[in-house]
């Protein structure tokens, strides 16, 4: 996950403070209008997101690039599939 630090996201979605299922629901809404190939970065404080985000991306046919732990929250990077 080292090189993820330098990945530039096209859209940043802040869901910090929200718990399950809102981070996934907000990501689902965002992905609906995101163009294929664009990268969405989700900020979440919910510990469940570490499992939910990759599972959801896989199910939707998107690419889960990985996550980066920050001070008190985690950044998740997802590339919209074609």
């Amino acid at each position: 996950m080292d090189n993820l630090e330098n990945v530039k996201a096209d859209i940043v979605l802040d869901t910090r403070g929200l718990s399950c299922p809102m981070p996934i629901l907000r990501l689902k809404k965002e992905m609906k209008t995101t163009e294929p190939g664009k990268i969405v970065e989700v900020w979440s404080t919910d510990p469940g997101s570490k499992k939910d985000m990759p599972d959801f991306a896989k199910k939707q046919g998107d690419e889960f690039l990985g996550y980066v732990d920050e001070a008190g929250y985690t950044r998740y990077l997802i590339k919209k599939g074609g």
């Binding site: 910090r16 299922p21 809404k29 609906k32 001070a71």
Partner: protein
């Protein structure tokens, strides 16, 4: 050559075992098996597993010591929370989740936006009302009810699905029309607290919690409360399996309508196959009376209660069981849901028990009395297969997924 003394080998094995049990991600199906086996043990130990009466005990304390015990039908002081068996089990589930999340490095207490706390309280209160109607929460009223052949479990399942649809519709409406604002304050970081780096201390506290609760069994035994000590022990490991795998009964009913995901459906079906097979042996073999656990209000209570509970759990973001482990890992919104549940449940439970509402909502019906031991296993097989295939079909087609 690598050092291979007995001491170094034991040390390596302990480290490997610790990592395997407490750090490595646990698949949901493993938790499904673990919880199914624990549910059978709890049934043999005392009575089929339930959660809501533990919440009821906490609420009863509030009613009694505020001097309004009559509203909850209390004639005398309730058992203290550290003696009431279900309360003890619930507390052990919370601490089991706290310990597990601390060892895994997942423990974090973060503040939610104010409206989320209001939703937590209202959702918890709805769960309290639903549990009173069904005479059990999603755990006792659905999971255990199905596990011990109480027909109310199947009715509550329908109610839970309908309530979840309403709840998901509300969350989508809120997100599109009245979105919760994200707080601007920085989240808490356990590495940057003054004096101590809590992130480094947490695993030791977590391990300490596990040792203490296991030892508490002996303390309870010393005071002639062995049964209560066993409940603490079982609660600890239920909390462990649930937190480590994020086993959330709410997800079973919510996610098929939200994303189509059916991973929890598979885990719950697996768990219920184990639980129901075990309880069939227990009941058929007369190890415990057949009537144990057949107290769910069939059919109106289970259906209505399931609906109200389902709506509440989706709004609160946790059900009765996942509320305990999520509260344990630091989710502050869920703490308010527990307060909401405890505040409302004693009153509504008493109202159902002491008015005409009780008979109207129904009474426990034992499925084996209706279908006999010949047809009950056939019915269960058909039920599990139908549920599984419906969930798979929905995942592939998103037929029942509520669109944004």
């Amino acid at each position: 050559m690598e050092k291979t003394s007995l001491r170094s080998q034991i040390g390596k094995e302990i480290k490997r075992g610790y990592h395997f049990i407490f750090i490595r991600d646990m698949p949901l199906w493993v938790a499904g098996i673990g919880i199914g086996i624990l549910a059978i043990l709890i049934f043999l130990w005392r009575y089929p597993w339930g959660i809501s009466s533990g919440y009821g005990n906490w609420g009863n304390q509030l009613y009694y010591y505020l001097g309004i015990g009559k509203l909850a039908g209390l004639a005398e002081a309730p058992l203290t929370p550290w003696i009431h068996p279900v309360s003890v089990m619930n507390l052990a589930m919370i601490f089991g989740a706290t310990g597990a999340s601390m060892m895994k490095g997942q423990f974090s207490t973060y503040l939610a936006p104010p409206r989320e706390y209001v939703k937590g309280f209202i959702g918890g209160a709805l769960m309290g009302i639903g549990s009173s109607f069904a005479n059990g929460c999603i755990e006792g009223g659905f999971y255990t009810a199905v596990g011990v052949f109480s027909t109310g479990g199947f009715m509550m399942m329908i109610g839970l699905a309908l309530g979840s649809i309403l709840g998901v519709k509300y969350l989508i409406w809120e997100m599109l029309n009245w979105p919760v604002k994200i707080p601007t304050q920085k989240p808490l970081d356990c590495k940057k607290t003054p004096w101590i780096n809590w992130c480094k201390v947490y695993p030791y506290i977590g391990g300490g919690i596990y040792i203490l609760i296991c030892l508490s069994f002996y303390v309870y035994s010393a005071f002639d409360k062995t049964v209560v000590g066993g409940m603490a022990f079982f609660g600890l490991w239920v909390g462990f399996f649930m937190q480590r795998s994020r086993f959330c009964l709410q997800r079973t009913f919510r996610n098929p309508f939200m994303t189509g995901d059916y991973e929890m459906v598979k885990a719950v079906i697996l768990s219920l196959i184990i639980y129901s097979a075990g309880s069939a042996v227990i009941k058929y073999g007369f190890f415990q009376p057949e009537t144990h656990g057949i107290d769910h209000r069939f059919w109106m209570g289970s259906l209505l209660g399931g609906g109200i509970f389902g709506l509440g759990m989706v709004i609160a973001g946790a059900c009765a069981s996942s509320g305990l482990w999520r509260a344990g890992e630091g989710n502050t919104k869920v703490w308010l849901a527990i307060v909401g549940f405890c505040t409302v449940y004693p009153f509504t439970k008493n109202a159902v028990k002491s008015t005409a509402l009780g008979p109207f909502l129904g009474k426990g019906v034992y499925l084996v009395d209706v279908l006999t031991w010949t047809w009950t296993p056939v019915f269960y097989l058909a039920f599990f297969l139908a549920w599984y295939f419906l969930a798979v079909y929905n995942e592939k087609t998103e037929k029942f997924v509520i669109s944004l």
